[in-house]
């Protein structure tokens, strides 16, 4: 029986010729990731287990990104625990203020993930690296601890859903619209425990940042992972970055998919997920006044995202009464945006630009909402209280929609501003 792309990567890392959906396997991992929130819990468990060394100093990654630069004493203590652990264990990939970025933008940029890799991370958006043809999935701190100790993790080989993307997206339609549309279609548990595998001639129109965004939000449909086939876009991105061996896996023609969805990208419209679930995707809305816009996060803090925002904000002004906060996902992206003149355009438009941090996405800091306030955000979750007060509202959208909303002061389509 044929295997899906995800099953093939799992089988290869478990030393098996074949795995079937539902099969329990133990697999060697290529990378284990934690951050300043999940890391300290994993470290505490590591010490409780009496472990002395990590399995491979080059394969454990710690990124200080959620509440760093630290927002308060407690978060500083959390980072301090990670910093001491990294120094003590000789961890080579420890990223702190100065060389850090939001983890899921940072790891690909640093060349730590390549096609064919098996990655686990104590962060739910670890599924992002499927954009590179890797199998990657989020776990908790205890699993991270076990992986740091052993270099292995157990998995239940997932069943899969197939998404055939056809056609060329219209102007101002990007990866975010595609994934919000899909989550709207299948629901927040539509892919529970399963792989989301993307196919079709529409894939070639998606740049690597679009693919990162789409795989990043696979978890918002409950998926174990999202994954794209490897093509020239992937190879071009990995060239000069990833130093390891690239292994290009492809699904077998007779691989089993529980369901097949055909998505015509040329039909998609700017899509917004209304409060309080990512599945509340809409393409039409009335006049909805807003208080804040956030453009950034592991979902949409890439250079392409900043270019989309700049296309709208360049030469225009953020509407009176709206706070627009722009957060490049890594220092490298920040620098690139600076060289391209985007940062200047943002500031002249009346937006603020922050150092990389997850900050407001999870209601940490750098843009918390008061009661009753509304925010259009390029982040990934709009649960009750996600970005602040429980009566605040988050509207998930693309950088085009977010920037257009910043300019108009209400939830807006990019067409309304750019014509």
């Amino acid at each position: 029986m044929g295997m899906t792309m995800s099953q093939k990567i799992l089988a290869a890392h478990a030393g098996l010729n074949e795995v079937k959906a539902g099969q329990l396997i133990n697999a060697k991992i290529d990378l284990a990731l934690a951050n300043d929130i999940t890391g300290p819990v994993a470290i505490k468990e590591f010490e409780r287990a009496g472990a002395s060394q990590v399995f491979d100093k080059s394969k454990v990654v710690l990124v200080m990104d959620h509440f760093a630069p630290n927002k308060d004493i407690k978060s500083a203590e959390q980072c301090s625990i990670c910093r001491k652990f990294a120094a003590d264990k000789g961890i080579l990939n420890f990223f702190d203020v100065g060389n850090m970025g939001i983890e899921h933008a940072l790891l690909p940029e640093k060349g730590l993930v390549g096609a064919g890799c098996l990655v686990i991370g104590a962060d739910s958006h670890t599924c992002t690296y499927g954009a590179l043809g890797a199998f990657s999935t989020g776990v908790g701190s205890t699993d991270m601890c076990a992986a740091m100790m052993s270099g292995e993790a157990w998995f239940k080989a997932p069943a899969a859903l197939k998404f055939v993307l056809t056609g060329k997206p219209a102007k101002y339609i990007c990866g975010k619209d595609i994934i919000l549309h899909i989550i709207g279609l299948i629901g927040v548990d539509g892919a529970l425990y399963k792989s989301m595998e993307f196919f079709g001639d529409g894939v070639k129109y998606l740049n690597i940042d679009d693919r990162f965004t789409i795989c990043n939000m696979a978890i918002e449909a409950g998926a174990k992972n999202g994954i794209f086939p490897v093509d020239d876009v992937t190879r071009e991105y990995l060239k000069g970055r990833y130093k390891g061996e690239i292994i290009e896996y492809a699904a077998d023609p007779d691989a089993v998919y529980e369901k097949v969805y055909e998505i015509d990208l040329s039909n998609l419209k700017p899509t917004v997920s209304f409060p309080h679930l990512p599945e509340n995707a809409r393409t039409e809305w009335g006049s909805i006044g807003i208080d804040q816009v956030v453009i950034g996060s592991c979902t949409n803090g890439h250079i392409s995202d900043l270019r989309m925002a700049a296309e709208v904000l360049r030469g225009r002004k953020v509407a009176k009464g709206v706070r627009a906060i722009i957060i490049p996902a890594t220092n490298q992206i920040y620098l690139q945006a600076l060289k391209e003149g985007l940062i200047e355009q943002f500031i002249e438009a009346g937006a603020v630009v922050s150092t990389p941090t997850c900050g407001p996405c999870l209601g940490g800091y750098m843009g918390i909402l008061a009661g009753g306030e509304r925010c259009v955000s390029t982040t990934n979750r709009n649960f009750v209280g996600r970005m602040g007060h429980t009566s605040s509202e988050v509207y998930l959208a693309s950088p085009y929609v977010a920037a257009a909303s910043a300019v108009t002061g209400r939830l807006a389509s990019p067409w309304e501003v750019l014509g």
């Binding site: 929130i37 287990a49 308060d72 670890t126 908790g140 076990a146 979750r381």
Partner: protein, 163 residues
């Protein structure tokens, strides 16, 4: 392992942000986390919860973040069992790994009401609503998972087995 307590009932898609809001994730102290458990979805929870109580909820319980702080906060608040139609996959795995008993039983979720006294035998998977007398059967975990849960989580379990 036998559990008996009163029920707190919630709907579908109870996410990790309402179980323990990220603004409190600047600590990994179980006690501090428990002090804010469920406060954004049910402000009365913390006043009413007692050791041994049970949460009953709908589909996709624990969706969202991978934060192990979510099952940690529930467990440290005194809750002894979560029964749901289904669990988000990372939450499911985290619960076992930290020793929080969970059970998937849609029939029980439909019938059990807020405030009912419910008992559960984890070994057999039998859930009884003591208030109404109705019984339900969930698929019990295989013995090795039951052992991990009974030992208080994966790391504690490995430590015990090693001895």
């Amino acid at each position: 392992m036998k559990i008996k307590g009163k029920v707190f009932k919630y709907g579908d898609n109870v996410d990790t942000d309402v179980i323990i809001p990220a603004r409190y994730l600047n600590t990994s102290s179980e006690k501090e986390l428990a002090a804010h458990c469920m406060e954004d979805i049910d402000p009365s929870f913390l006043n009413e919860v007692e050791r041994g109580d049970i949460i009953v909820a709908g589909d996709n319980f624990g969706c969202g973040s991978s934060r192990e702080h979510a099952p940690m906060a529930i467990k440290a608040s005194g809750v002894a069992l979560v029964i749901a139609n289904s669990f988000a996959r990372i939450f499911y795995r985290n619960s076992i790994n930290i020793g929080l008993p969970i059970s998937e039983c849609p029939a029980a979720v439909v019938a059990i009401k807020k405030g009912d006294i419910v008992s559960c035998d984890l070994a057999s998977g039998v859930i009884t609503d003591e208030t109404t007398g109705e019984s339900f059967r969930a698929e019990p975990f295989p013995p090795f998972i039951q052992e991990i849960v009974a030992d208080g989580g994966l790391i504690a379990h490995l430590a015990r087995v090693k001895k």
